[in-house]
């Protein structure tokens, strides 16, 4: 099983695409994000350096986009979503400009760098902005597919990527479709796990364990968090009667909240939100941080059993 970080898979694919697609430009703010640091050496005219100045980065990207350019920009998710939050809102989303924000170093997987660099609120923030689309791949294969699909996307787009290598879940025939949930595994209809991002692998491992214990789970990859595939959520609620969400992000306002908003309004069923428990990230082995927040495989298995018992 191949392992590669989603950020590196995305960045390398975009570099490859740049050879044949000459229509996009890249804005950088002196961060090592996703391997795109070499873009400027290969395509000096198409790369714009803004220095360590994220507000200026977003403003400049908006100006470039307003002139008809397809603009990608890359920085850490924390800085894109918070340091430059207002610029994203008022000068990318409000004028509905064609800017793709690549936000890297998502979630607790950042590990050693700790709370200042771990983006755990970015989905909540980006999701609240009108006109914004929010997506997150779950492995290197889907990250590459997303890079290809993003070329034809128009409008404000936030792409959330993780720092460290993760095992591949998908095969190379995977096609990324915006706004479409993907049922990855269907053991049965006892409950549904709706997952976004790299924790998909943990969900699949947990579902396999639960299957051996007589609980049969549907596992859905919700790569597009906004606009949410509401039909897939409602199907999960109706057909399986219990929904668990799993995300490497705070449980306040992210995927779990998005799914819950649909479930409570359309077909209320018991839910459990797996994610960061309203606390900051910290330094350390990501697996230990996941365990502390009840996001490791054992915790997911235990929470799933409690959820099914509430049906």
């Amino acid at each position: 099983m191949d392992t590669l970080a989603t950020r590196m898979a995305f960045g390398k694919e975009l570099l490859k695409l740049a050879e044949t697609n000459t229509d996009f430009v890249l804005c950088n703010a002196d961060t090592k994000t996703c391997g795109l640091e070499v873009f400027g050496k290969l395509y000096p005219e198409r790369e714009f350096s803004f220095g360590i100045a994220e507000q200026n980065l977003i403003g400049g990207a908006a100006g470039l986009a307003s002139c008809g350019n397809k603009v990608y920009l890359a920085t850490f998710g924390v800085f894109a979503s918070m340091r430059a939050c207002e610029q994203v809102r008022t000068f990318v989303c409000y004028p509905n400009l064609n800017v793709t924000i690549i936000g890297t170093h998502a979630g607790l997987q950042v590990g050693g760098d700790g709370a200042t660099h771990a983006a755990i609120e970015d989905v909540s923030i980006m999701r609240s902005l009108p006109n914004m689309t929010v997506v997150q791949p779950s492995d290197a294969v889907s990250a590459r597919a997303l890079a290809r699909a993003s070329l034809d996307f128009t409008g404000p787009l936030y792409i959330r990527l993780h720092r460290n290598p993760v095992p591949d879940v998908y095969n190379d025939d995977y096609v990324f479709t915006f706004g479409k949930a993907n049922t990855v595994k269907e053991y049965g209809a006892d409950m549904t796990m709706i997952v976004s991002g790299i924790l998909l692998k943990k969900a699949l491992d947990a579902a396999e364990i639960l299957h051996t214990q007589g609980i049969n789970v549907r596992v859905v990859d919700m790569a597009t968090i906004k606009p949410l595939d509401e039909a897939a959520v409602i199907r999960a609620a109706k057909e399986t009667g219990a929904v668990m969400t799993i995300e490497d992000h705070t449980v306040l306002g992210g995927l779990g909240a998005a799914v819950a908003e649909v479930v409570v309004q359309s077909h209320p069923v018991p839910m459990t939100l797996v994610g960061i428990q309203d606390r900051f990230g910290e330094s350390g082995d990501p697996e230990l941080l996941y365990r502390d927040n009840g996001m490791d495989v054992d915790s997911i298995v235990a929470k799933a059993k409690r959820l099914v018992a509430r049906k």
Binding site: F48, A53, G63, S66, C67
Partner: protein, 281 residues
Amino acid sequence: MSQYSFTQKDVVRLEAQAQQIREDIIAMIHAAKAGHPGGSLSAVEMVTALYFHVLNIDPQNPDWPDRDRFILSKGHACPVLYACLARRGFFPPDILNTLRQYKSILQGHPDMTKVPGLDMSAGSLGNGLSIGVGMAMSAKLHKQDYMTYVMLGDGEIQEGMVWEAAMSAAHHDLKNLTAIVDCNGVQIGGWTNDVMCIEPLADKWRAFGWAVVETNGHNMADVLTALHTAKTMRKPTAILMRTVKGKGVSFMEDDPKWHGAAPTDEELVAAICQIKEGGIM
């Protein structure tokens, strides 16, 4: 560069146009019962000079890719911009009295998705120069020779992002970018240099790698000359224009109260009278 040269006849024509723009500003803010007259009136000569003489634009084709760009970073002064766009033919002038009303294209702060000829939304201070940097970069990338003008308030440059943008414009050698600072000396809370001193202003821009042109912002010939000089500079250029907040209406001049207040019916009559009689001092 023909649009940068001018005759005395042009000056007279533009001064008359500026008078009409002042009347429009007062009338639309009176009709809206809210708005920002002070910073609109201080910018009248410059925005009039741009829209009625200097900018290479086409009201019949507002999205023309090779057009010159103008960003009103001090977006609260949008009445001056709305009036110029309307009088220049981008939309009918009778729309001006819908300022700030429900379903109007003329939002309290400008929305580029609603107003023909508006190059960028604005309202949150400190952002426009960065966007101008992006527009100027795009011109260089695609070898277009349009200019990008960004008008900022003097209070606005207290925002740190302005200086991020200034640094990047010099770094990227954006000769095709001109910042215009409307130095009317007043912000909502009082005199700018009491709220947060911005001087020495010219030295600050020069230190960031910009050329500086200083001018009287209420003398039309001086304004046109400053725009011409800025165009010839081999650096991004800041035009620091000394202005009077509320210029043209005696009781609004130099008074922070008129940063954001609408005239009463009586004040409207008095103001229009003064503008019609006084022209520009």
